[in-house]
Symmetry: C2
Subunit: 333 residues, 2 copies
């Protein structure tokens, strides 16, 4: 009997902030897996800020999502049927074929989860793309030294919270900004030294008070005002890890950049953008360190979970209103 599954398609391209109308729930009938193909039922799917970029129709490092087509993203699923010798029913696998309850796809597009003892959904978060993003760039671009001060914006998100804790393991002082006192309390509980609620008071004054000697590393998830503040408080030879600029992803007109760009010259700042695949050579080192840290309890992670494929757009939209603490996940039934 043919299996059916729901999926989410891009109905229209968002202008500015996305909304529910940009998405469409559809039902499809899955074909039988052919030679080399596998039928997977997803258990968890990931929504991530970078997906906003793929909703624009423009050239980028990943191709844009197509109108009327199913969206794609990280997912963890269980193999139901396999015509690929590398997989058998019951295997837990990671794919980039999410935003659907189930799919038939080539075995080559799947990675079997290691049996390390971590919960499966950790491979979408702290042991997955967000964790690897944090780990690789913090070491490779940040070049942290013990005793240095690290400022992390978007610190309660999946990437930011991993950065904060890795920085503590590297004996840095960590200043974290997030948008609610609950998030900041959680960050304090995992060892962050000082916190700033960016929705309260003057951001520059608050960051200055939290980092009176200035900062050596800025991990940027946010852009905008946070970036300007980071330039202001940067010490000479600071490194800026440019991971994302969620504060401007939805701007309809391009927003002016920092008014203090000249500090890049005078303070000899190094500012570098990246995407996680640039550091794929660090993959084994990442899995080894991070798995150990997670199992030892040295790195903790939070999840915000929405249930059911129909709520995937809602989960995605919450990323932009700060609705998530830690990794935003959708649990599929």
């Amino acid at each position: 009997m043919a299996e059916k599954a729901h999926e989410i398609r891009l109905k229209s391209r968002p202008a500015g902030m996305p909304n529910a109308e940009n998405f469409q729930l559809a039902e499809v009938t899955l074909p039988e897996p052919k030679d080399g193909e596998v039928l997977v039922r997803n258990m968890w799917m990931s929504v991530d800020p970078y997906m906003r970029g793929r909703m624009y129709d423009r050239p980028s490092y990943v191709p844009p999502f197509q109108l009327g087509e199913v969206l794609q993203g990280g997912a963890i699923g269980c193999v139901m049927k396999s015509n690929d010798a590398r997989f058998k029913a019951g295997d837990l696998v990671e794919s980039m074929l999410g935003w659907r309850e189930a799919f038939v796809g080539p075995g080559a597009a799947l990675t079997k989860l290691p049996a390390a003892g971590a919960p499966p959904q950790a491979y979408l978060g702290v042991l997955g793309m967000p964790g690897m993003t944090a780990y690789t760039s913090f070491h490779r671009i940040g070049e942290p030294k013990p005793g240095e001060t690290v400022f992390v914006s978007g610190a309660a998100g999946a990437v930011g919270s991993a950065v904060c804790q890795i920085a503590k393991i590297r004996d840095c002082t960590v200043v974290a900004s997030a948008g609610s006192d609950e998030k900041l309390a959680w960050l304090k509980s995992v060892g962050v030294d000082a916190t700033v609620n960016y929705k309260k008071g003057n951001l520059l004054q608050n960051v200055r008070a939290a980092a009176p000697k200035g900062i050596d590393i800025y991990f940027d998830n946010v852009g905008g005002e946070h970036l300007e503040v980071a330039l202001e408080v940067a010490r000479p030879f600071a490194r800026f890890i440019e991971c994302g600029m969620i504060s401007i992803y939805n701007d309809e007109a391009p927003a002016p950049g920092p008014r203090n760009m000249a500090y890049i010259v005078g303070k000899r700042i190094r500012m570098q953008g990246f995407i996680v695949i640039d550091f794929i050579d660090m993959r084994e080192q990442f899995y080894a360190d991070m798995t150990r840290w997670v199992l030892d309890g040295r790195i903790k992670s939070q999840e915000t979970v929405e249930s059911g494929i129909a709520n995937a757009p809602k989960a995605f939209l919450e990323l932009f209103s700060g609705g998530n603490t830690g990794k935003m996940l959708v649990k599929l039934d």
Copy 2:
């Protein structure tokens, strides 16, 4: 008989664009050189854009100039009297004690010019701080590869024109911007592949036309609109060498930065500020390569010369109106 000399002092701190009123010509009587001291009569003095920064009263990588005190800057002079065994009358020396016709200072503050056959004033330009700025940062931050495209702003200046020619020696394609057709014609004559007059037409369109495949390295002397354009046309993994931002040095209110900062993330751009002493370890390599290139005629340089200490402020002000091609010098009598 005691010697007399004129010098230029900072009379008032400029607000915005400096003008002649900010400077004061004074005459002093030189003391006799004490033990370890030398009396030097300057032949050439240098004015450079970075000096504008020292006219602000703020903490920076070099201390601010003090009101009522003589200004300091690179100079080439001739030793007249020496009480330091390392120097004798007639030696040509470089110092950072310029903006004066003559001075008595410690021998430790002087460097004897090498007898390489280059004209003395070259050690204020292509073989001096501007040349070393160009050479070190282009290699260390730019990491040029043959066939890459390099965009240089302020390309007719002392640093920019050296960068253009070094990039050609490294087999790069060079696109240069400057503010007059005469400057651009000279840049063409030394091998630059394409030129843009930033005072004519739309800068973005003109740079796109000059570099249709985009740019791999941006050497920034200018900041402002040039920086925004460079971000726009940058190829993935472009390196931005942040040498200076002369277009905004005199802004009274901080100007907004580039509206397209998000490209730093998406295009994985590395943007790095520096000052020349950060690369002091490359000094010997710089002198060896650059002296050979200058004497072989592979690197040419232009000079714009004002005569007499009284014209030093005028020479300095011309830096901001584009009055110089190549190195701006003041010839002292």
